[in-house]
């Protein structure tokens, strides 16, 4: 009898042990949330093990900002890898790559010359309001670009050159400029969208212009209305890229007002990638608007272009203007325009 009781006790004990293990097993599978980082006995190794699934580890705080209770968030390391390494490579390749392409293109192709020479007759290309909007947006963009690149490249490139005190002062004011000038930039993008949308709807002429290399590759003069396919591409890059970069920038400017930490990281990623690609495209725009094409800068600098320039690069637009205003209308001005 005593032997039977001993055996029964052994079997019951074994079953109880198995039951305890069976209940405990799922609990150990939920290890990340089982770790209490504020517990006095928590071991660092426990925390590191808990990160295996990629979950965040939260503690407990009494201040209003409950986000500060987040002790470790593995996704943050991916984001740090992005903005400390990946973004710098993307930016360097995009911007330096575009500069190299433009230099090589200039050395091979040279400036697009006004082949028929200056006629001496001027035609209004952009009025004062259009130019003011363009320059407001462009000036803000240049400052936003430089101050934004300071965030990405300032620490590794500029800090060793000028030292910590100077870099701290510069970076602080650069950040102020970046935040505040974003508003006139965004307003400028919106104005650009409104004032030039009519001329920037893609049409069949753009296909012809593109097939013939736009007159930039080679010496052809394909037809174009007021804006050719290349200018339309720039327009849509400014409108769409500008909108995205502004929207993502305002999410960053008002942290956690709209989104959580994942959204903030996504906003920063989108903002940075679009911004560096934006800078690269604008370098090409600046090139073709200045040294890349003879007579092009006058359009936005003075507001007028030579009639032969319009005939070579925008013949369909010139025809429209001629039909609208007549050959001797006030739209056409003598060569000697007063300096603005």
């Amino acid at each position: 009898m005593a032997r039977f009781v001993a055996q029964a006790r052994f079997i019951i004990g074994a079953l109880a042990l198995a039951l305890i293990i069976a209940i405990a097993a799922p609990a150990s599978a939920q290890q990340p949330s089982a770790v209490n980082p504020t517990a006095a006995s928590v071991k660092e190794q426990q925390l590191l093990n808990a990160l295996g699934t990629g979950d965040a580890i939260h503690g407990r705080v009494t201040i209003p900002d409950q986000k500060s209770a987040n002790l470790i968030h593995p996704a943050g390391r991916d984001w740090r890898q992005f903005h400390e390494v990946t973004l710098r490579w993307i930016a360097a390749i995009a911007i330096l790559g575009m500069l190299v392409i433009l230099v090589v293109f200039y050395l091979v192709r040279g400036q697009v010359k006004l082949e028929s020479g200056y006629s001496g007759r001027r035609i209004v290309r952009f009025n004062a309001f259009e130019r003011a909007v363009h320059w407001m947006t462009a000036t803000c963009f240049i400052i936003l670009g430089l101050t934004g690149l300071n965030i990405t490249f300032g620490k590794p490139l500029l800090l060793p050159l000028i030292g910590e005190p100077a870099f701290a002062g510069w970076a602080q004011w650069a950040k102020y400029a970046h935040n505040y000038l974003s508003f006139p930039f965004a307003i400028g993008v919106f104005c650009i969208f409104l004032i030039w949308i009519v001329g920037n709807i893609p049409n069949r002429v753009d296909l012809e212009w593109t097939k013939r290399g736009g007159g930039i590759v080679g010496h052809d003069h394909p037809p174009a209305y007021r804006f050719n396919a290349g200018q339309k591409m720039i327009y849509w890059v400014v409108v769409i890229g500008g909108t995205l970069v502004a929207a993502s920038g305002y999410l960053l400017m008002f942290p956690f007002y709209v989104t959580d930490i994942q959204g903030m990281q996504l906003a920063q990623t989108v903002h940075a990638i679009i911004a560096v690609l934006f800078v690269a495209v604008m370098l090409a725009h600046i090139y073709i608007g200045t040294i890349g094409m003879e007579g092009a800068f006058e359009a936005m600098g003075e507001g007028t272009v030579d009639e032969n320039w319009a005939r070579e690069h925008h013949p369909l637009w010139l025809e429209q203007e001629m039909a609208r205003t007549g050959p001797n209308e006030s739209q056409r001005q003598p060569m000697a325009t007063p300096a603005e």
Binding site: P64, R131, A132, W135, Y180, F254
Partner: protein
């Protein structure tokens, strides 16, 4: 040149207004994320 100067003036004016507005809407982190019981 007039258009460029005008553009710069308008940009600075808008930026100044935006800066003033931002400074009234947003608070520094030490104010935004602390209670009255916190001494900094």
């Amino acid at each position: 040149m007039k258009s460029f100067v005008l553009a710069c003036v308008v940009a600075i004016a808008i930026a100044a207004v935006a800066g003033f507005a931002l400074n009234t809407v947003q608070k520094p982190a030490d104010q935004a994320y602390s209670t009255t019981g916190v001494r900094l």
